[in-house]
Subunit: 275 residues, 2 copies
């Protein structure tokens, strides 16, 4: 298995605090030693850092800890390989361009027979089931529209594709088109939203404590989603299996499998303060 | 204008020496302050570092100077913007997947009316002429074959597409499919091959001197291509306008515009030693 970390915010936000916890799980506080990667979106542009080394011992991960990149969407992954050898081309997140947008995808779990799903416009560079699933999803979307559809229409289409993959095994996933961040819970994902009045938080994996009131303005809204809670003194909300969260500008909409339109969620309680 | 740097080698090779010279041209020894990027191939996998900051003052460029990545193909670029604002999505190199290969492209020069070239499977994320030209090239290749053709066939097709863009302005370009590195000379490109017996070299842009005999084995072959010579005590060979070099495993083949099959070149003299 692997672990995922995603972020959606309404202002460019520094993810280093959350990423520090995830990175330690790649060989210190967790067993995910088979590579890691992180994608930062700045508008439509995206930069991705990949390393097949364990994140807890990676020089590149250490560098990122000291290098603030402010981003409104982040997708990160630490890998424990089950299918596909340990190599750069098998290191998540994977990315492709569709409709002039840069799409990024990361997955944890195992999928049965996914390589039998037919591919059209997109093909894997590596050998993982995950990249095959990503290529299949994008091919399905490309076949349906010639240009990026409206958000609500795309939300439902992504949720339907997730439901199909959910039937094949464990499909915990993060996917973004640079506008929305989609999260599908196959087995385990949790999230929280930070907004005013901001409090403090301490990582689970090390004694790093941040007072968000010092780092933010009153209008900031930041939602973080992860396989397991990253902080020990905030309240993380578990997603149910089969749920899809759609995050835009830090706000959350929930798509339940096989149901009608997405439902906007009130942001959950986060630490000692609600928003 | 911008500057380009490419490398092809038959063994995983550390590019930091050459990249140090290029990076200084992004704001110190050259005026290319509008972002930079570098792609390293490790097998079929690729990692790219992008930064819209000037490379001479970039924290990320400094980090890479201390972080050895051994690669067989490298494409790097420092940008002086003429078309398309300074932003992450307009920062070269650009990349796409085609036929299950990761393609990477960097360009220097200006092209007239290139945005009128029709696009099919690939679309720009940013607003540069360069990314449009790249998307057009890949679309043309995709329309012609369903899977990666044999190298010699692809070489000729890439050379023909380059010739078409060459007619529209200045098209100095590096392109790779993770197997071959293509270089087209629109106005200015030069190269050298380092192989046994290895000598020493000193950068043009700073007093960094390397004795390659200490860093290599007798069988290593490394070809470096750049807009302007990077070292002051080696002999760089200028390409003629319209020439396409095809680099595989450090070896060089020259495709002259409008002529028959590619011609294998004897590697040129490099410093005090020939190979």
């Amino acid at each position: 298995m692997c672990e995922l970390l995603g972020m959606s915010a309404n202002v460019p936000t520094d993810i280093r605090f959350s990423f520090a916890a995830l990175a330690r799980r790649g060989g210190e506080t967790g067993p995910h030693v088979d590579g890691w990667g992180i994608s930062f979106y700045e508008g439509r542009g995206c930069r991705t850092f990949h390393d097949p080394e364990p994140s807890a011992r990676s020089e590149l991960a250490k560098l990122l800890r000291n290098y603030p990149i402010k981003s409104r969407i982040v997708v990160a992954h630490v890998r424990k390989a089950n299918r596909g050898r340990v190599s750069l081309e098998n290191t998540h997140p994977f990315s492709r361009e569709l409709w002039g947008r840069r799409w990024t995808f990361a997955h944890n779990g195992q999928l049965k027979g996914v390589k039998r799903l037919p591919l059209t416009g997109f093909h894997p560079v590596g050998t993982t089931d995950s990249e095959h699933a990503f290529c299949w999803m994008l091919g399905q979307l490309q076949a349906r529209w010639r240009a990026l559809p409206k958000p609500a229409v795309l939300d439902r289409a992504v949720a339907d594709l997730c439901a199909e993959l959910h039937g094949r095994g464990v499909f915990n996933m993060l996917l973004t088109d640079s506008r929305s961040l989609y999260a599908h819970c196959g087995k385990r994902l949790c999230y929280l939203t930070r907004c005013a009045p901001f409090g403090t938080a301490t990582l689970v994996d090390e004694d790093w404590r941040v007072d968000f009131a010092q780092e933010t303005t009153e209008r900031d809204v930041v939602t973080v989603i992860a396989t397991q809670a990253l902080t020990r003194d905030e309240t993380w909300t578990d997603l149910a299996r089969g749920d899809v969260l759609v995050l835009r500008d830090g706000g959350i909409r929930l798509v339940k499998p096989g149901q009608g339109p997405a439902r906007t969620l009130a942001a959950p309680v986060s630490g000692p303060h609600a928003c």
